[in-house]
């Protein structure tokens, strides 16, 4: 295509108004924060929360319910993206709520950068969620990762935090390299970087399948790094453990939504024709993650580390839904399988946020409360919060009538419908192994004598939010249908 032939359509900026709003507010807060005294840092916090509320409103107002492209096909807006974005904003708001007290107790972190970096990371995730081009996906990932590396190291006098940031940075750079190499190979095979264009070229058979498969291996490895599934999981336990709990909470919740979005965009939207190849790769990753994650979690005494291994196993479980979308070229069950994965990831984020929030609720200045033994006798200190934590643990273990059970159930249903009975049996087996270490936390809370006897002090808003989070885990387990059908509808309108 020569320059003369090139037709440029000016982008429709309204479609990306949420991203533009987020960027403008992040820059504004960056400047406002310069003029705010340390004692009045609340201004930055309130502005950040208002920005997230504003972005939610903008996204809901601007949703069209159709698939629309802008910025020369770099940006896609659809219902799946909008739903994930709204969940993303809510998650980040909840994260900031929970982190408030923890951050204030630690002067190293109680600076404006914590909030601006959070907003930039959120922007990166929004870009990932509505990316329709390899370049946009890559830049979104880098924007997210760069903000996260800095946030992990924000508590710079802590040796473990610095070490975690360094590991995260080096492995993250390696993962980006793998992803880019895979992308360049796929570009070589198909001659396009645009995801919807990629799908068209693959359908019409204008692609070199050898090079495509070759690139796919690297692409899937890169995604696996970002999702944190075995054997690309090495960074997860160290980063979760070393990072300040407020940052761990952030890393453990919101980016999972964005990672799910790029799996959908890259593999399902773009490379569905090659599903035979990538489903097999994801299958191996998934089974390995469930095995390694659940068995390694048993040996942990640190709650953050245990939850890190639990995150690995949950990501493996979520991938089961992605594995079973297309069976022998038949995509009949695809919608069901992908929406069960989406439901799984949404409810996992909800539960994970609550669990890390509870660690921060018990933490004080100079005391992290991240050992499992720190939860000993929580029932004596506060029966209500012990009950909340118990519900989260039951949900993560997949015990009936909590939301985690229903999420696991719907994924397993998709797996059985696709005819992988052995896979379903393996998944149930590994979940049973997992139940052991979740129930151990419950046992420690209810039957061990308390080590600390101080009262649990938390602001009223955090207490209310924590209760709401716990009750949501219980209620969604009884009435999962609304969220489930929302996931199915959004995918139906987006695929």
């Amino acid at each position: 295509m020569t320059l003369a032939e090139m037709q440029f359509v000016p982008p429709d900026l309204r479609l990306a108004s949420a991203e533009i709003f987020m960027l403008a507010m992040a820059c504004l807060i960056l400047i406002v924060d310069l003029f705010v005294k340390d004692k009045r840092r609340t201004v930055t916090y309130v502005l950040t929360q208002l920005t997230l509320v504003g972005a939610t409103v903008v996204t809901i107002l601007m949703t069209t319910g159709q698939i629309v492209y802008t910025f020369s096909g770099m940006y896609v807006g659809d219902l799946m993206g909008d739903l994930l974005k709204v969940f993303l904003y809510i998650t980040v708001m909840v994260v900031l709520f929970y982190s408030r007290g923890y951050v204030l107790d630690r002067p190293q972190m109680a600076r404006g950068e914590y909030y601006t970096l959070t907003l930039f990371a959120t922007l990166g995730m929004m870009v990932m969620i509505s990316a329709n081009h390899f370049l946009t996906i890559y830049i979104g990932i880098e924007l997210l990762s760069l903000s996260l590396y800095a946030m992990v190291a924000l508590n710079r006098d802590s040796v473990s935090a610095t070490e975690a940031a360094m590991k995260y940075f080096v492995l993250g750079a390696l993962a980006s390299g793998l992803l880019l190499y895979g992308m360049s190979m796929i570009y070589g095979a198909t001659g396009t970087l645009e995801i919807s264009g990629l799908a068209e070229r693959l359908f019409s058979g204008q692609a070199n399948r050898t090079i495509l498969g070759f690139g796919l291996v690297f692409l899937v490895s890169g995604i696996a790094f970002k999702l944190g599934v075995v054997p690309f999981h090495m960074w997860i336990p160290d980063v979760y453990h070393g990072a300040p709990t407020a940052v761990t909470l952030f890393i453990a919740s919101a980016p999972k939504l964005a990672a799910f979005a790029i799996v959908m965009r890259l593999l399902v939207n773009g490379l569905l024709v090659a599903s035979q190849d990538w489903q097999l790769m994801l299958l191996i990753l998934s089974v390995l993650s469930m095995a390694v994650g659940n068995f390694a979690a048993i040996a942990q005494t640190n709650l953050k580390r245990m939850l890190a291994y639990s995150a690995i196993s949950h990501m493996g479980f979520m991938l089961l839904g992605m594995v079973t979308g297309v069976v022998g070229g038949d995509a009949r069950y695809a919608l069901n399988a992908y929406s069960s994965s989406m439901f799984y990831i949404l409810t996992y984020v909800l539960t994970s946020a609550g669990t890390f929030g509870m660690i921060m609720l018990l933490a004080r200045a100079g005391f992290e409360s991240d050992e499992i033994s720190d939860f000993a006798g929580l029932n004596k200190r506060s029966p209500w919060f012990a009950a909340m934590m118990m519900m989260m643990m039951f949900s993560l273990a997949g015990i009936p009538f909590f939301v985690g059970f229903f999420a696991k159930f719907s994924v397993l249903q998709a797996v059985v419908a696709a005819g992988y009975l052995w896979l379903a049996i393996a998944a149930v087996f590994f979940s049973l192994v997992g139940a052991y270490y979740y129930l151990r936390v419950v046992k420690v809370m209810y039957f061990d004598p308390p080590v600390h006897t101080s009262r649990i002090e938390a602001p009223m808003d955090v207490k209310i939010l924590m209760s709401a989070n716990g009750l949501a885990v219980a209620l969604l387990g009884v009435f999962p249908q609304t969220l489930m059908s929302l996931c199915a509808l959004s995918l139906l309108r987006s695929l």
Binding site: M6, F8, S72, T136, I139, A150, T210
Partner: protein, 200 residues
């Protein structure tokens, strides 16, 4: 073999050699210099692909600015080379075997079906084609979204660097006269009463 092909293989050989030396050399300064050579050879390959502007930008930005800065940092830091290289030779055999196996596997996969029938369909540009114009036009039209986002990534880099290194105002030793005037005796000397301790 065409002359162009010869030039490509010449540059590519130097590029691969230089990149290997970057990771194997003991002296970080030498490694950085080899990285300069690698960048330079890569820019030569880009010129062969008729991307003159990008080639010049690579030389100007990476060789001219980034690498010089890098050399300064490496020279200013007092790096203990022997401690850095500890374990390098003991890991080398296994690492080399794994790397060689991976290279062999990757080339086998590609060799079988690709290299035999590689088509020479690289589009040739007209003589009047301007590389700079094309890059500029694309950057501000088709690629404006990633271009703007890339600038946000740079902004995050700046914010992160400041957040991680700035430690507030440096404590100055100068004394404020106002505070000096208002000072009271108890601010200067604090008398503590302690019980006597036995010597061990």
């Amino acid at each position: 073999m065409e002359f162009k092909t010869f030039v490509f293989y010449f540059l590519a050989t130097i590029l691969v050699y230089a990149s290997l030396r970057v990771v194997t050399l003991r002296n970080p300064v030498h490694a950085a210099l080899h990285l300069v050579l690698a960048f330079f050879s890569a820019s030569g390959v880009w010129v062969l692909l008729q991307a003159e502007f990008l080639a010049i930008a690579l030389v100007l930005v990476y060789v001219g600015a980034v690498m010089v800065l890098f050399l300064f940092v490496v020279m200013l830091l007092d790096i203990n080379l022997d401690r850095l290289r500890e374990g390098f030779w003991s890991y080398l055999p296994l690492g080399a075997i794994v790397a060689l196996l991976m290279v062999a596997e990757m080339s086998l996969v590609l060799w079988v079906s690709y290299l035999d029938r590689v088509e020479n369909d690289v589009p040739q540009a007209e003589a009047t084609y301007s590389n700079v114009q094309a890059v500029g036009r694309l950057m501000f039209t088709e690629y404006v979204y990633p271009f703007e986002l890339a600038s946000v990534v740079l902004l995050v880099g700046i914010v992160a660097a400041v957040a991680l290194t700035l430690r507030g105002k440096r404590k100055s030793k100068s004394v404020s006269p106002a505070e000096q005037v208002f000072v009271k005796a108890k601010d200067r000397v604090r008398v503590l009463k302690m019980t006597a301790e036995k010597r061990d």
